[in-house]
Symmetry: D2
Subunit: 459 residues, 4 copies
């Protein structure tokens, strides 16, 4: 590896293994735009502080612009030649503007420089991911609106529980993603803070205008403590946690899609374009997409625990361990973007088999709770009514009937207060309609939720 930026005090060259071990260029090249963006702001601050002339400043900024274009085009491919992206950019700059390039690092350390680059990177990642969450929510709302009247079984413990609207079920995911979207917004606030000026750990002796740099780079605030600024990876941890939450939600949705597309459930058909086959079993059509989304949850959980482990018990200020933040971060960003893109495509591509869902909602005593609540209205205490209906269900099981197939006499023998009007309490559609309190599965309540959602989405 070529000359280091820090070699003066060293008598021996670094061991080749050490170079390989230390080098981050293999993954931090991804930060080149952020690095150049930060260098431009730093350059302006040096100019304002009188270290650079305006002419120096213009030359450096122009050269940095060229380097960005070169990197866009894939130039500087030899990763073995540079320790990290900061060295690469500085080396390229010196090649263009000579000794002026060597002066750019004045009042700056790699410690605050890398903190800056990663903050810029996470900021943009959050923005992209929030957009993708919004798209996923839109896909959910569209399917919810499209199937506004479709009744399906709601489950608890994977057992049929009560009839619900498919739209209501889908909108539950909308709410999860809404929380995710907001949580990312809060992480953004803590991310969007300028560390430049912190230098190695103590701040610099040059009077850099930190507020100006913050404005220049679109940061909302400047860091309050230089030692904290160079050793703080909280914003990455928060980001990884926020991503883990999205993946957890996606894994729940994926699990349902996998189960719903079994032959046994048959609630959804995923179009051929979103499935794959088997190399040996010719009949297979596998829901690989939701399976992979579900599986990738593990990857993001792992990255979170990885960085939590790294940061545990690290003394102040910067320690090299922190270099381990980046690969976990980058892979998480890639995974999230891919999964969210897949999720919104997939949600849109699912066909719901309404007939099958409706039929399932009609079998298995899903209206038992309605019947119990009917009895309450007839003056039976809830615990008592619960028990009566439990016994009616047992009777049905023995006779192979559903509740609405019981005669009035059969019902009255257990509870004389039951009247003819009971039958309209045993219809799944009616059951749903009765639940129009806010947040319930009733059509009006769901419709209001969809309306609220569309406002949140700006639709």
């Amino acid at each position: 590896m070529a000359k280091k930026t820090w070699g003066g005090r060293f008598k021996e060259d670094a061991d080749e293994l050490v170079d390989r071990f230390n080098a981050s260029i293999g993954f931090d090249r991804r930060l080149y735009k952020e690095d150049i963006q930060g260098s431009i702001a730093h350059c302006k601050a040096l100019t304002k502080a009188g270290i650079f002339t305006q002419q120096d400043c213009d030359r450096v900024i122009e050269a940095l612009g060229q380097i960005q274009q070169e990197l866009d085009r894939g130039e500087y491919p030899d990763e073995r030649a540079y320790e990290d992206i900061h060295t690469l950019v500085e080396r390229a700059l010196v090649a263009k503007v000579g000794e002026l390039g060597e002066r750019l690092h004045t009042g700056r350390s790699r410690n605050d420089q890398v903190a800056l680059d990663v903050r810029l990177y996470v900021r943009e990642a959050i923005n992209r991911i929030r957009s993708l969450i919004r798209e996923t929510q839109r896909a959910l709302v569209e399917q919810a609106e499209k199937h506004s009247g479709l009744i399906m079984p709601g489950y608890t413990h994977m057992q049929r529980a009560q009839p619900v609207l498919l739209a209501h079920h889908l909108m539950a995911y909308y709410e999860m993603f809404e929380r995710d979207w907001r949580r990312f917004g809060e992480t953004l606030k803590r991310t969007n803070v300028l560390p430049l000026g912190s230098a190695a750990l103590a701040g610099t002796t040059f009077t850099l205008d930190r507020e100006m740099m913050a404005r220049e780079l679109g940061f909302e605030a400047i860091s309050a403590n230089s030692m904290d600024a160079v050793s703080d990876r909280d914003f990455i941890l928060e980001f990884l946690f926020d991503c883990a939450m999205v993946m957890m939600h996606l894994s729940r949705l994926s699990e349902e899609l996998v189960i719903w597309s079994t032959e046994e459930f048959g609630f959804v058909t995923i179009s051929d374009a979103f499935c794959t086959g088997s190399s040996i079993m010719p009949q297979k059509k596998n829901p690989d997409l939701p399976e992979l989304m579900r599986g990738k949850t593990g990857r993001v959980y792992g990255h979170l625990i990885s960085l939590l482990t790294v940061m545990k018990a690290l003394p102040l200020a910067y320690n090299k361990d922190m270099q381990e933040d980046k690969e976990a971060l980058f892979d998480t960003v890639d995974t999230l973007e891919l999964c969210l893109e897949a999720a919104c495509r997939l949600i849109g591509a699912v066909t719901f088999n309404g007939e099958k869902m409706k039929q399932a909602a009609s079998n298995g005593f899903l209206v038992a709770t309605d019947l119990a609540e009917y009895l309450v209205r007839k003056g039976v205490a809830f615990r008592k009514s619960h028990e009566i209906v439990g016994q009616l269900v047992l009777e049905c099981l023995e006779k192979g009937k559903e509740l609405h197939e019981l005669s009035l006499e059969e019902m009255r023998s257990l509870c004389p207060s039951i009247g003819e009007d009971v039958y309209e309490w045993l219809d799944p559609a009616k059951s749903v309609e009765r639940r129009n309190l806010p947040g319930g599965t009733g059509p009006d309540a769901v419709s209001q939720c969809i309306q609220k959602a569309k406002e949140e989405l700006g639709l």
Copy 2:
């Protein structure tokens, strides 16, 4: 175990093992106040909905008040007799008000009831923890103010890097805890939402006034989707993550206290009252407190990954797996409260050995960066000045000198532009004073930080 609240449909009694496996009373008894508080609000909603008369309402509320006092006194000790705290309270209520007690569960399920109880519990836990964070911050600010002029070595990679103020170092932790305090505040918003009315998963057919219950219980909002409301544990996960962040910060502080109290560093003395000895080695005085805090980080990380694992790929709505949320939550709350209490006590009880710190700041070339920045001011490009100083350090190492012990000639031989004024750049106290840019370790900058902190703390 005694009669269940759900036995009507069952022919066989539950197996003893199943009872033991399912029962949550062993740990959810802790939620009794929340459960009673929620029942009171539900009772009022039933009254407004016309299911209870005002007289019913008054009787139930009075009886619930008595039950709370009984539970405060440790009555109902037999945990084998109840499935969970909800059953215990209901059973006690029925014993007091008869059939009326059996009617209280109208329009409610354990699914929304337990969601409510845990939300109330987490809300209070957040409030207590935020107070403890504030106290910890106060302890830091006090020590920072008390030692405002004390200079110590700042470290990176555990190697002496630059002189900093101890106050600056301590205030770095203040900033970490400030982020924690804010993060908990955001989690609070998402926690402080009423799930009641969601019933099992679909909402209830009774027209419960959810907004009224929310006001009654101090919630800021009502849940928007009943299926989400009963299957959402996001707020617990957020809370566990927030706690993991605090523990990570405490582990960093603890690590420093452990290292600083070694004979080799000798920067701090922890008072006898906060140390323990050895059963075999009579001379030992061990910093158990920071060690345990550091160790307990693992416990909280573990609880976070535990619940993330539980929630992965769970289909909607409620599944019994979710019962596993509580023990992890309770142990995390206990751990956090204990650790924060210990932290603020410990921070206050530490004696800083100023002489040792100051001396350490004077050895090991910590002003090398100042010298390089001095050279920049003399017109040397930063990379060049960095290299020159590196060589001067090498020379010092060979001669067994510190930088300020070099003669002007020795320095000039490497860089002729060095002048007599160089020596005031080689004084650690001056080094610190030069870093008064915002966020730097300069006395004025640190003083402003402390000022800001005191405002945030309301001091």
Copy 3:
């Protein structure tokens, strides 16, 4: 808290909070038998080394025996009075035998003492858990034998794939548990090592006969390095990992039981005694047991990551952080024992609905692979045959037929080499019979597996 065993060098009493923070008696009381067992062996070694007379030895051993009985009976309940179980036992001993009790700690430290106690504890836990694994395997083998001819759909990607024997499916879990059983056996070897004699970290100056103590306590070896011996928690981590693997396997089995007991699958019925109901929905019968087992996986994963976190980057030798090993360990042992007990009960209590399984195996083209392999036998290359069968499946889907319902002409139009003998390749029972290669689902192959299993189980 009462007098410490280490107070000589201390001027101030410990802070009450510190006592509370440090004390482990709240959870390590569980180790009293191991502590006493270890003290007896240590006592004998002191006697052999001439520090105790034989009379001393007899008195101490007798008194320790009494203390064990007292602790069995729940005496010494005041946990605030002792720092840890070692102190409690020593204090009780001194009360009985006076100054002799104060001499028992000669040549021993709490560091090696606690290492010893935990090793004894883990050894017994492994033995119990291995027995429970064997019982679980027995339950699987019994069900496999009982349903030896039952055909069901085998799934990949949760899609019906090929017909398999239920016995084959169950025996897959047998194999998982067999690996678990062996893995615990290997962990046992590394656990079963005597640390006594290591004292605080450097060994003792007394010539304790470590080999004799090892024999006395049933250890296979003595630790080779005293610093390692007091700071090694590898055996606990291994144990936690082994437990995590069992839980992972149980979670897979549980997931299948939950899915199989849905109305949609209907493959199994879990007896009432192993299910619970709903407080609101009278018809519900929920498979709580497998759900909880699945959920408890998170808890054990969490404990593993917890201790891995604790041990990360701990310098030698003992550090107080290590005290955090115990609660994670104890809860894991309790969880595993409960879950395995539940698993073998549950496996025995499940009713398989053979008719439903068989019918499911007949629908969904599960014999498509057989058809493709038939074509290979007729000289078609496998990739080609796979494609032909894929097209036949498409045709079936369009016509609403199964493969065996296609006429010979319909099949021949795509592949003329198909003959009349094709139909016996389209029968699920025949499909299974053809897979008698070792490890396959053929009845003979499965029968051999069961035979091997019974030998392993000593049946």
Copy 4:
């Protein structure tokens, strides 16, 4: 992407996103040797089963050999063209031998094929890692032998505890790695099992000779159950755990090296070639290597939790989620190999500063335990002697003396039985010599450990 191996049944082409999401060629290309090796064995089994002629067999094996060479040379670079490495190899084979290549997949599925490839890969990884562990152990033994007489402070709680030999301290790590080496050996047994013949999940109808394939591929056994064989990732989890344990041990060693190379400790000097500098602070020389090793612990912990999460609650048999096993595995292998290589280089490159260590062992009352054990020999009960020495230490602290600087009178005033011979108990070198019981830090005991180690290492 080009034609799939499974397209017959599909009407629509796969969506581009789905292709991107599903494709594993980006990372499983690494398995090409294993894939070809497995295909050769499968080819021989097909030949023995009469599906291939010997001529077919020879052609296929020759062609596979060519493909391996081509892949060695980096041919087939277009990753977008293939779904996975299996498809790539098959496609290349068909290009060389035509329809014969399409017949190779007879009786095989990607499910057993990928299980095979990964088992071969893990087997070789274990072998390489075990060799590297042996090299690391050798480096430790060499340093231990080289510094056989060097005395240093042994620490507990990071406080000076007792004098120990550096060799003893180093050999503690030898023991940790010895456990690791054995653990990997056991994982190897469970890895080295042939899954081929399991096909998709049920076994194949062709009479493949599995025992022959096992011998051909060097496996010790064949899998006992086809459903288990295709859905088992236990061996990868075990491997990841074994790696996590090595990393934990390396993190402990790294932490010590970081602390020992602080200016404050000064116990070791790491050669320039193994350190790096700072871009801003010219004097810095940072121990990046041990820091990075310590940090990379998080990465491996993360991969372990990642795959544990993936496997949680997956029903049988293969699910696409399992594809997520590979990247975690590959990165772990790369990390372990790099870290172990670095560790043994680093251990060899460390200079121990014997004078500084020895001096540190003489300050801080490290012989207090010896003094207490001396008193026991004079007839004082251990608890009493512990207390007396504690008070002598207090007295020393007040007088600013070490224990050996106390006069006999000073000592006798607290304990009259102290004699002139006490002073030889207060010499660190003598303290070490007295601990020659097996496993102790005495020179003979350590020497025996080194001897045992050399035998284990074959030196």
